[in-house]
Structure formats: C-alpha cells, structure tokens
Amino acid sequence: MAEIVLMRNFSNAESHTLAAYRAGSGYAAWDKARTMEPAAITEEVKKANLRGLGGAGFPTGAKWSFIPKNHTGPVYLVVNADEGEPGTFKDRYLLERDPHALIEGMLIAARAIRSAKGFVYIRGEYVQPWRRFSGAVKEAYDTGLLGQGFDVVVHRGAGAYICGEETGLLSSLEGKKGWPKIKPPFPAIKGAFGQPTIVNNVETLCCVPPIVARGAEWFAGLGTKTQGGTRMYSVSGRVKKPAVYEAPVSITLRQLIEMAGGVSGTGRLKAVVPGGGSAAILTADEIDVTMDVDGLKNVGSMIGSAGVIVMDDSVSIPEALMVLARFYAHESCGQCTPCRESTGWIYKMVHRIVEGRGHKDDLDTILDVAKRGAGTTICAFYDGAVGPYISYIEKFRGEFEALIPHA
C-alpha cells in the first residue's frame, strides 16, 4: 500500500486544529528548517524533485532559486489557493482539513526565499475553507508560530478563474482586475507590488514539511525519475467512487481509475481528461500512462492540476467540448486580442454544432484558429483552452461530423 503523506491527517475530524496537528507531526519540520540555511532548504526541495502541483509542473526548488541574491527589499511568498481548474478539488480538502500543513509549508518556504510576508489568495467561493484556514492562521499567531519574522495575510478572491494564473493572481492581489502581467519580468524578479515573489500552489507547499522532515531522497524515491513524491488526484465524472486519492506520481491512469472504483455509467470507458479541463483528452487506449509531469507531456497532454474526469461511452464529446468552450469564453479576462475574441467565437461555433446547426467548415476553422492563437497570448490560459479545442475534435472528429448536416 502506497504511503499516504498529504492526506495523512484527513481522517481526524478535528484535523484542522492546531491541537490535532501537534498531536500528529506537528511543526517538527519547521523546527528542523529553522536550523537550516535558506539555501540548504532550497537544495533539499530541488533534490526531492518536487514539481509544482497547481498546473504548470515547474520544478519548485528551481523556482525558489530565481529570487535575486542581492535583492535588499521585501520578498513575498504568495500561495495560490484560487483552485478553479475544472475537475480539481484537492486544495479545498487541504485548506479545510489540514490548514496547518500549509502554514508549516509556508514558514519553511519563506525561510528558504527569505520572505517576511506571505499572502494566501483563496478563491472567493471557498467560504468554508477560508474560515477554516483563517482559524488556523489565528491559532498560529496566538501561539507565536506566525508574527515572529513571518506574517500571513489571507486574501479572498471575488470570482475569476484567471486569478489562478500566477500573474493574474498577483494583479488581483494588488487590487486590480485579474489581468495577467506581460512577461518578462517574471514574478521572481518583479512580482507582487513590484517585488520578487514566489507563487506556489497549496498542495506544493504542503509537500515541503514532509520533504524537510523525512529527507529529499525519500520524497524523490516515492515518484518517478523526474518527479518525486505523491500527489492528490481529484477523480470525478463517470467513476463509481469520485473522490480525492493520494498516490505516488508514478501511478498510471488505469490504476487510478481502478482506485476510484472503475468506470460507472455504461461501465465502458470512452475518454479521460487527465489533468484538469485544460489538458488534452486521452482515449480509452491511452490510459497506461504514468500520471507525472513528463509521463503526460510525452503523450501530448499534461498532468496540470491532476483533475481526472472520466467519461463512459454514453458521454457526448461534442457536448463536453461545448461545456468547456463556454467555460473558456466566460473566463477569458479579455486583455489580449487572440484569446478575448476567439474564445467567444469558438464557443459559438461548438454550440452551433451541438445544436445541429454546424457548417462543414466549422471544425477545420476551429482547429486552425486554435492553432494560430496558441503561443501568441500574454498567458497560458488560451493554451489551456486550445488543449481541449484541438484534442477533442482531432480524437473524436467523427462524433462532431455526425452532428453537422452535409458534413
């Protein structure tokens, strides 16, 4: 049985309290980290092969080391708790059930990057998680864990998926619309309020205390050659037991679906979204892939936020694409032209197709427009939209054509 690291405290009903956290591993990792040099902490996280678990999969230790060494002003640690990727719900669990794990992770990360101030940006809809996490922050302040060289500001969002994009989040934190920033400069050089900033996902930071407490080698060994550790897979859709499951990142998609009780509905698998709504869809014969960053990259998809949506053969792929296309049109921030104009147009076309009013050129138009827009935008939101636009049509073209009169 694979080791449970991130969800280790979940079964305890009071797991969100400091008392319960102390009864478990407590803040032992933080005690240890306080004896370590900041660079040594970063080194440990690098050796652990920890990759970002919010979507981009960037090596966390490398990201931390981008903070300029000679910077004399403030450095900010920003936690991306703006979970919004369709099919993903792991961070919600961590905020509600183990907020102290996040606080401990923040403390250690802050020491590594020499930050005295952290902001936790929680999506506005997450009211219960916000209350739970704020309660834990208060406990941490009351007992002197926080406020002794590191302060935390909890900041609620107000409803915009794009605030889950690193620099969109920073703009929102600064009191503006969630418009992503043009890069360069990158956040580690110039981020929140113009200062060097590290933005990390909730789950990524929750990995840090175990890494420090039990060693990089142990963490790295849990996973694959290029990505260490376990992660929490959010499994939903047509499975018998939709839930969040922790597994080593070397697990295959087939094994994961089995863990979730297997395919429900007709029981016959048709397709799987492996890494949140923005990931390219996989067909039923593509599920023997390891659910790590490189495993999915090598098959033309991505692990992203590890939101797994399972589809049985009663699911209409065109309808599924319409639902996602509607999502991207609604969430496009509107800042740059290719995304702003084409997400709306592509939704109109897919919607028409689903309603039986498609034109025979529509599919090729959608594919061409998507390919032309990919890589031209300010942020990767559009590339996330392009994932489903292209993969759903290319892999299930027949199903779309069947809806188009005289296709």
Binding site: Q335, R340, K348, H359, R372, I378
Partner: protein
C-alpha cells in the same frame, strides 16, 4: 549602446530601447496597435510579433529590450503568418462600419488588413454588440463595437492627464471601454484620445461626418492659442467644398515635437480654428463715415493710413500691435515706424479674466508670440497708448487684432479714446466692437491663410505655414504694412515672409543666425534661449 541587426541591417541604439523603436532606427516599421512611445507597455494587441534568433517562438517587440548582438527578423514567413492570424482575431467582432466610420482612410485596421490580412473572413456567427455613438464628453464620441481594446485611451487618461476617466469594464469578449456611469470625459486634453485611437472607436464630435480624410490637404503649423506654440497640422478641405458646409479648415491635429508638446494638443487649441471660416470674417477694406460703413478698395484704405503718417507728427501717432501677430508682421511694423520716430507703440492688452493654465501645456498667456512682440519692441501695455489718446495727444490710432473693450482696459477710457482720436484704423481678421467703431478697417488674413513665425514662451522660433488661401481680400499684416511703405516711397524689399524673416535675423540680435531652413519643422531656440537651457 547595444548593436543589433534588424532584417539584415545593423543599427546601434541607446540602452533600454525596445525593438519597435530599434527597428524604426533601422528603417523598419513593426506593425502594432497598443504600443505608444509615451505610454506604459501593454502588450495586449499581440500584433508586434517579431522573430529573434535563438528564441523558439515569435516575441512581441514592444516588451523586448534591444540587446547587443540580437538578430531580429520582422519578415519571416512565420511572423507574416502570425500577423495574419492576429489581424483575423482583431476583426472577429469588429463591425463592418467603414462606409459610415470617420476613421476610414486613416484606420489602422484597414491599413494593416490590406497589408497583412487574411482577406477571406470566415467568421459567420453573430458578432458581439456593444453601445455605439456614445458621446463621452464635449469632444469625443465612442463606438464600443469598433474598439479593439488596445487600452491606449485608458493609459492616456491615467498616465498623461492623470484624470483616470476611462476604464475597461467586464471581461472576455464583452470587455468594453467606458466612463464611470454618469461621468464625462472632460479633461482639457480629452481629444488626444481620438488621435491615439488606432480605429474609429473614439472619434472627434466636431469632425464627425464632415468630410472624408482622403479629401484633406495638410499644412504644418503652430497653434496660436497660447504661448506654448504646440506644433500642429492644419487639415483643410479644398477639394470638396460642398462637404462640411463649406468649412475650409476641417480639423487640427497635433504634430510631434519633442521639445514643445510631444504628441499632444489641448482641446482649446484643437478647436480654436472656427474663426477662420466664421461669418464675422472681415473680407474687404471698409470706411465708416457718419453712421454707415462702405466697402472701399485697398488703395483707398492704404492711402488713408499713408496720408496720416505723412501729414501727422510722429508723437501724434499711436500703434497697438498684437502678440498674435507673427515676427514678420511685427518686424515690418518696425520698418515702417522706426524711421519716422513713432514711439507711442504697445502690444499687450491684458485680459479681463486671467487665462487658465496648468502644469502641462496650457499657459495663461493666450498669445502665440508674446516673446516676439517683446523682442520687437511691442511689449508695452496698451494702456499707455489709450492714455495718450485720452489726453488728446494722438490723432491717429492703428489697432491690430484686439477688441479693446474685451480686455482689462477700463471701458470708459477706451470709449473716450475712440471719441477723440480723428482716425482709428483696425486691422484684424474677424469683426468685433473695435472694428465696428474704427474709421477704417483693413482685413487681415488668419494664421492658416499665410505663413510666418512665432516665438513661444521658451524662446523657440517656429514656422507656421499656409494651409488655405485668404478669404475675400484679406492680406497678411506684413503685406498691408508693405503697401503703406510703398505708397510712402519706401520699400519693404520683401515679397515673401521668408525674405522679411531674413532681414529680421540681421537686424535683431536675438534672432541672429536663424533662417527658415534652420527652423525646419521643429523650430529653433533663440540664441539666448539656447544658452539658458540647462
């Protein structure tokens, strides 16, 4: 200074130069919308993509700093395809308004579409609809459907005027430029957003539906609205006189001058040309006798002035020139008055209400040539001349341009002066109280109808050029003075303003060394002004 290659051409640029400007230095124009040299980088339109060696994908040029050894290519197949794609994205929801849009002919969607576009629109769905023809303020009208959301106008109101009236509301393809509901775009530079809007989203209310831009001719000029001397272009309609209700001057646009106004023009200056085509233009010399005014010939008018100068003693003659006159006009007056020892001269009539000013372009002195007037000896307050008139020392008074009752001079004194002076001559372009009560009116051409130079507040001498022919029989002031001199047996020795200017530079030390050629399009500081500049 980094040295880089653009399309095979090597160029050296100052450190910190972005690739749009670096390419420009190499003679290459990179198409773009949201970039503007005076505003922060937005990186929103995505049109300025260029290929940089060793970079895997095309990159936006506006946000890339030129680096030593960079090799940039703006015309690779990949860049061309990307531009086509970006043009398509811009046109997805853009309404086909060209036939009714004022921007047609100078629209950057049209221009780039023809040069880089796809030509086969494949968007067959309903476009997003937004408010159209929404007045934003006294001068600007918005069509939100046409807007390409480049955010130039928003950044202008934030970064240049610091008034923050505009914003981009909502998100996605429902994003919309607008004002806070209930407010107005009423800062004193509001119409500049029309200039910087690449498309017909923000257009000029005064110019709306007047005349197509391809019928316009242009002349480089200087705004005479205040002592700043903002550089402008005068756009005139000569070819379609039946459009715009016969209005000859269609609009004014700012002209870039790094030393004076950069890219900007205030609204007061921009819309201050109406008097050139107004119904109250003085079109012919007139003579008032008894109660009525009759048209006379120029010969008669000139003869009246020359006659007075011949028969009167110099101390009986008063001249109130104007800081709205050109250097050439004022110098011609000097040529006429100096040999005769006529010293009762002035130029300034302070306004009743002080003019507004700000810490940007607008100056309280609403005259374009106060410095010139001062240097040419016409800086005195007109009250000295009016007092001399009232003391019955003057028998002849020549007033240029001013409406003496509209300024700060006590009304009683002005009326008294008019009552007792035998001959009052008015020279100006538009009728006013003074012209109505003068004995002789000699009509002057407006600044758009002739050329000359003004000296701005900082001592920069700048040329303004002829845009249209004078209305009626109006003549430039220097020409009128020249005709008087001829009748008196003297000669101005100048048939063109440039010749007069040459004489001026030789006679007046402050103007030494200048010439029309040297002034060029951006003007030159006076020797002293240049020395005073830090």
């Amino acid at each position: 200074m980094p040295k880089l290659t653009v399309n095979g051409k090597e160029v050296e640029v100052p450190a910190g130069t972005n690739l749009i400007e670096a390419a420009r230095a190499a003679g290459v124009e990179v198409p773009h919308y949201c970039y503007h040299p005076s505003l922060s980088i937005a990186g929103q339109c995505r049109l300025c993509m260029v290929d940089i060696e060793k970079t895997p994908r095309p990159t936006i040029a506006c946000n890339t700093t030129a680096a030593d050894g960079m090799v940039v290519n703006t015309e690779t197949d990949r860049v061309r395809e990307t531009r086509k794609s970006i043009m398509e994205f811009h046109l997805i929801n853009h309404p086909l308004d060209c036939p009714v849009c004022d921007q047609a002919g100078e629209c950057w969607l049209q221009i780039y579409y023809m040069k880089h576009g796809l030509y086969d629109p494949r968007m067959k769905d309903e476009k997003v609809h937004k408010p159209k023809a929404v007045p934003l303020g006294p001068h600007v009208i918005l069509d939100a459907e046409r807007c390409i959301l480049c955010s130039r106008c928003v950044r202008f109101c934030d970064e240049i005027t610091h008034t923050g009236e505009l914003g981009i509301f909502e998100r996605g393809d429902h994003s919309e430029i607008g004002l806070f509901p209930g407010r107005e775009l009423d800062n004193k530079y509001s119409a500049n957003v029309v200039d910087i809007c690449p498309v017909g989203a923000l257009t000029d209310r005064d110019f709306r539906f007047q005349v197509r831009v391809w019928y316009l001719d242009t002349a480089k000029s200087i705004c005479p609205g205040c002592a700043r001397g903002c550089n402008i272009e005068v756009h005139v309609n000569r070819r379609r006189p039946h459009h715009a209700e016969g209005r000859r001057v269609a609009r004014l646009k700012p002209r870039f001058n790094a030393e004076v106004n950069k890219w900007w023009l205030c609204d007061a200056g921009r819309y201050g040309f109406g008097f050139a085509d107004a119904a109250d233009r003085l079109l012919a010399p007139t003579h008032k006798e008894g109660g009525s005014s009759t048209d006379v010939t120029w010969e008669q008018g000139i003869a009246a002035v020359a006659g007075a100068l011949r028969r009167l003693r110099p101390e009986q003659i008063g001249v109130i020139a104007s800081p709205k006159m050109a250097n050439e006009d004022l110098f011609a007056l000097r040529r006429l008055l100096d040999p005769r020892g006529i010293g009762q001269v002035a130029g300034q009539v302070p306004p009743r209400v002080p003019g507004d000013e700000d810490n940007f372009l607008i100056l309280a002195d609403k005259n374009p040539n106060s410095r010139g007037a001062e240097l040419l000896g016409f800086g005195a307050d007109a009250r000295t001349v009016i007092d001399a008139a009232g003391a019955r020392r003057l028998k002849f008074l020549w007033i240029f341009g001013h409406d003496l009752l509209a300024g700060a001079l006590p009304e009683r004194d002005v009326l008294e002066a008019f009552r007792v002076v035998d001959t009052v001559v008015f020279t100006g372009s538009n009728a006013n109280w003074t012209s109505a009560h003068a004995h002789w009116v000699l009509p002057a051409a407006t600044w758009v109808e002739r050329e000359g130079t003004y000296t701005n507040v900082e001592g920069r001498v700048q040329r303004f050029r002829t845009a249209i022919q004078p209305l009626g029989q109006a003549l430039a002031e220097w020409e009128i003075v020249g005709r008087v001199m001829t009748v008196l047996g003297e000669s101005l020795s100048a048939t063109r303003a440039e010749q007069l200017f040459r004489q001026l530079t030789e006679a007046v030390p402050a103007f030494a060394g200048l010439s029309y050629q040297l002034l060029g399009d951006a003007g030159q500081p006076l020797a002293g002004a240049a020395a005073a500049r830090p």
